[in-house]
């Protein structure tokens, strides 16, 4: 059996019924295009979430104050106020691999400057905060460890806060009144955009946690502690050490629950990407159904083609074509239809996701692997749905086939 003439025969057979071939391939084009575009959208969403998680910083462990039960009423995480400043210092001192610790207190309040005022979030942090979150300043300088020790009335603000309060003016060096305490603005943070939860991360005022606790929020406990580990391989060990250290410090007897929660960035990332992963699978599956329908279309047309060309099959058999030759010929036709459809579908899918990301502003990500898989899958659809008609053709009796009207 010669391959070149067989390809030629397939090509001619497909060209003979141009409209029919195009419509059949269209089923595959739409199927593959939909898969490519949908998976692209899903992956794009996932990549965006991952990027946002990465913006939390690298190798970060978050320790939240635990919940507590008082008179049967359970507070949420962070409500118990079990984390003390001393806990953070102990972590800084005793857990190996720690390169940064930031004590965190959070509140929301009204801030004012001149005749403008704005309701925003106040973050009390240590000077390590900007390194841990990999959040450099766009302008000005961060507060220092000295500012933290002295609980100085200084702060840096996010882009949103800056725009809302100062408009186009340069806020650096200006006074921002928070609960009537005047804070000097040292710098403006680079914009970070929305968090995975959809919160504007730039609507923020960051100040030394000491200042926040003493002058703005009050209280003596921390909401959480951000810890950064130097080496990713040490994260798990550090997580365990932090747990045992805090249990010891909080005098928790064995068998009792922790009064705090330790989460690694990895765990948070997994939880956050789970949704987009489910979405990707779901979208891909729906698109896959259309690919399946396309495959059935190929099977249908191939069956019609086998019936129409019964005589041709008889002639070919009479002049010496074996069952396998006929099988191969029809399989090649089916695979040609599906893989040409696949290639065009891939192009359409890429184009569709481009259009979506440009006009609908959806992030899309098309990986080489999804293109390769889509192509192989479309070829496989051809083999799978072409096999039955091809086998039917190959099994024809030459005498019957020659006599077929």
């Amino acid at each position: 059996m010669r391959i070149a003439p067989t390809l030629n025969v397939a090509y001619r057979a497909l060209r003979r019924n141009k409209m029919r071939s195009v419509l059949t391939a269209l089923g595959i084009i739409i199927g593959v295009g939909a898969v490519i575009a949908m998976v692209g959208i899903g992956n794009g969403a996932k990549a965006q979430v991952e990027a946002q998680i990465a913006s939390l910083g690298e190798n970060v462990i978050l320790i939240f104050s635990g919940s507590t039960t008082s008179s049967g009423i359970r507070t949420g995480w962070g409500g118990a106020g079990t984390l003390k400043i001393e806990d953070a210092e102990a972590i800084r001192r005793e857990v190996p691999g720690v390169i940064g610790v930031s004590e965190e207190v959070v509140s929301t309040t009204q801030v004012a400057a001149g005749n403008q005022n704005w309701f925003t979030r106040i973050y009390g942090e240590s000077a390590d905060y900007f390194d841990i979150r990999q959040w450099p300043l766009a302008d000005g300088a961060p507060f220092t460890a000295q500012d933290v020790r002295s609980a100085n009335k200084v702060c840096v603000i996010g882009r949103t806060t800056a725009t809302q309060v100062y408009g186009n003016e340069n806020p650096i060096g200006q006074i921002l009144r928070i609960k009537n305490v005047p804070f000097t603005i040292l710098g403006v943070l680079t914009p970070k955009g929305l968090s995975p939860q959809g919160v504007d991360q730039d609507d923020i005022v960051v100040m030394p946690y000491t200042s926040a606790m003493k002058r703005v929020i009050g209280g003596t406990t921390l909401r959480n502690i951000n810890v950064q580990i130097g080496d990713a391989r040490q994260i798990e060990a550090a997580q365990q050490q932090i747990i045992s250290l805090l249990r010891q410090r909080h005098n928790i007897r064995p068998g009792r629950d922790d009064d705090f929660t330790v989460r690694t960035q990895q765990e948070i990332a997994e939880a956050a990407t789970a949704t987009s992963r489910v979405m990707t699978v779901l979208l891909g599956a729906i698109a896959g159904v259309s690919l399946l329908v396309g495959g059935i279309g190929i099977m249908n047309i191939m069956l019609v083609s086998v019936t129409e060309r019964t005589r041709e099959i008889g002639v070919r058999m009479a002049v010496g074509a074996r069952g396998n030759d006929i099988l191969t010929q029809f399989l090649i036709e089916a695979v040609a239809l599906s893989s040409v459809g696949g290639v065009i579908g891939i192009i359409c899918g890429i184009a569709a996701s481009r259009v979506l990301s440009i006009y609908a502003n959806w992030p899309t990500l098309i990986s080489i692997s999804s293109i390769v898989i889509a192509f192989l899958f479309s070829a496989a659809v051809g083999v799978f749905f072409g096999f039955y008609p091809a086998r039917k053709a190959a099994a024809l009796d030459p005498i019957e086939a020659l006599r077929y009207e």
Binding site: M1, R2, A4, P5, T6, R12, R16, R311, E312, G314, V315, R316, M317, A318, V319, G320, A321, R322, G323, N324, D325, P398, I399, L402
Partner: protein, 250 residues
Amino acid sequence: MNNGTLVRLVDVHKVYHTGEMEVPAVRGVSLEIKRGEFVALMGASGSGKSTLMNILGCLDRPSSGQYFLDDADVSGLSRDQLAEIRNRKLGFVFQSFNLLARTSARENAELPLIYSSQHLSNTQLREKADRVLASVGLAGREDHFPSQLSGGQQQRVAIARALINEPEMLLADEPTGNLDSRTSVEIMAIFQQLNERGITIIMVTHEQDIAAYANRNVIMRDGLIRDDHLVTRRSDAKAHVQNGRDAEPI
């Protein structure tokens, strides 16, 4: 290559099963055909001549009995082995030409070579097809589609297709059935010419005057051979063609 027997059928039976019924189509045929013979196989419809032709053409296997082609028993071969025999040793010409539509004369003629075990380059394929087409008088029409050719010309393409693998035997099933009498004579002229070159021909026909171009007539009835005789007054198709041409202006 011997000059002796090409085809030997020994007590060949063929029974068709249609539901519960067993329909005997061929009921014990023994037949020898020598190389270089031109046999016309005749009989009314239902006489079993088509079934016998299918067995001779290796398209079908006998229910019982043996078929020796070129001294090899082919009665028990598999489908694929039969396909190879058809490709190598046999050429077919059909009543309805059975050319592939929208396919040039050249590509129609090339068809058996595609399934041949010998691998020829595209140029060789082309040259071979063009040569065979020229030998049946179709030089210059290699690129024509069947729809652009007359019935006689289409049958010539079919003959070229049958000849391209240089078969031992040509099997023709009512080759003139769809042709007018003049064209029929032309086709017979080609057959006689091929036969003179040594190709064995078996031709099914129900027309006496067509059978007269063969050198042996085998007549079947009810699945058996009733008569088998040499043609004593053989018609010369070439002469008839000449006469026809001469007569034309009148």
